[in-house]
Amino acid sequence: MIKGTPIDFTIIVIYFIFILGFGSFFGKYVKSTKDFFFGGQRFSWWLIGFSCVATTVGSYSFIKYSAVAFEYGLSSTMTYLNDWFILPIFVFIWLPIIYYGRITSIPEYFERRFDSKTRTISLIILLIYLLGYIGINLYTIGVAFNAMLGWDVMATAIVIAFVCALYMHAGGQTSVIMTDLAQALMLLTAGILIFILGIDKIGSLKTFWTSLPYEFKLPFSPFNKPPDFNFVGIFWQDAFGSSMAFYFINQGILMRFLSVRSPRDGRKALFLVCLVLMPLAAFAVANAGWIGKSMSIHGLLPSDTNPNHIFVEVVYAITKPGTFGFIMAALIAALMSTIDTLINGVAAIGVNDIISKIVPDKNDAYYLKWARLISLLAAIIGVALVPLFMQFKSIYVAHGTFIAAVTPPMIVTILFGILWKRYTTQAATYTLIFGSIAMLISIKWPGILTLFSHGVAAEGLQYLRALYGLTVCSGISIAMTLLPASKEIKDLHGLVVDTIHEGKVLFKGGEPDDFDEGKIISCHIVEVNEGVSLSKAMMEHLQAKPGDILYISDERWWLGGLKSIHAKAGPPHDSSDDIILIGTDLIVQGNLDINRKVTAMKII
């Protein structure tokens, strides 16, 4: 049944126009490939945090998690609430490696840590992962809009990919981050709105809660059953498969954390994501299923409602024209905020790992043109992959199978690469090649997964593919590294846990001093020919010395660092304490307004 009124369609069209205009507006801040891919490394932690959540929540999230929430209850949240254990490795090891190492792409890390051959293999796997991810998101939104509004699946995918690619083409990473903020707020608001309207429809919060059965209220599903949503399979697939892939091999997320003004802000962003925004997002994407369950118990919805349609049915039942359109627009927002990140990621890999290798030594404008062209190309390929995902039985199976099949070799290689200095290039190459072959074998002969079943029935074994992959790939990695002939000595400055300090030295060009955070100061700009200089008193206030890297930003915090710049502190000046001398080129580069005050802080 086609749902939606002219008001709803109008709201969706307004949303498209708004997001296209808003995203394209930031094109004026893109002057180089650094701006296009990393937004000039200037953004605040809260902006990056919201952006990460908008990326995590894809269009499939509302449909998929509402479906499992309707069938299995609060355990639908478990996939969003098990990321925290990854924090130490991300915050203490991976973030400093990528940030101070100025690593622009995952394949680049492979070349610097191992060799060019592993870079090529990882490039192929990564492109399959990213382009496939774009395809599955476009497919999901196509299915949702086909059911709700009667739109053709392919036509929907094409329209959305086109809008996304257009604003991405203009503003790159800055557009991604800024539109993601709007989209994250929109999808979280929509999720909370569904719950409020749903409770209103049911009667009260108490009526809702007491109507739900005991098993439905548990935070984890039963250990090894049912086959399609058991705890142990989901745990290995999501906590160790999807989450690890998200934080370690998703090029878009890597670029997001390289866009922060400092690793300190990257850490804060991750805290915000894991502790606050992910629980909120888990609630937002799944509560339509819980509301649907309670409504069906109270006879407000047919009890035999198809779980895959529950999100649409609940939203349609509890909203009025206009609100329905807003929630559908939020669904599109969830999709676009995921896809724009992936498109930007593909463009970065395309330029850094393909074009600059084939056509080296060109100027930055040449590569910027290619970045924009590849953004459009990635959107087209994503649309072309939609028919492939149409062949799967359900969205959950398609998504899970795809992630679990592609990611383990890459995850294991990166983890061993950053944690184990002795881990060799040969071991990495074998892990990528034979690990991928092992994953293909498990798809062709799923019976092999029985070894890892934990008592899960045969129909649910695909969820344990991640555990199988991680075990096999770890085995290959360890065996190949421990071979007597495979010892190697390599320059690993800043690329493994042992050498993070050396990475900081290389980043700064001197001994780092990032322990004393100092204070943030506010001062007026005075334009000079070049460099940055503060008074001696202000330098002491910042606990900074000449040669330290400073972050100078427009004093309006809500800009999130849009107008800001990193620069090395020069010798102190003798003028007034509330004055900062800044070179003309830095003012232009940071989009700073000389009539406004700026804040300054020491980075390292």
């Binding site: 924090l87 548990l218 935070p219 984890f220 142990v232 805290f271 502790l275 042992d498 993070i500 322990f515």
Partner: protein, 66 residues
């Protein structure tokens, strides 16, 4: 029906092993230093966050019957 605590114990046993091993490795390899206030503060924040999740999941199981 299996105990609702089994998934809880399984998840936090495996995750805690990974969590603690990485912290020990980071300290041992000098990626962080517990003698520096900033690093110590981050470490305590991360451990506190982890305990919050353990506590929240345990509460959810306990209150499921309410």
């Amino acid at each position: 029906m299996m105990s609702p605590w089994l998934p809880f114990i399984y998840q936090y046993t495996i995750c805690s092993f990974f969590f603690i091993a990485i912290i020990i490795l980071s300290i041992k390899k000098k990626a962080i230093s517990i003698h520096h206030p900033t690093d110590r503060k981050i470490l305590l924040e991360i451990i506190a966050g982890y305990l919050i999740f353990i506590f929240a999941h345990a509460l959810m199981i306990l209150f499921a019957g309410a």
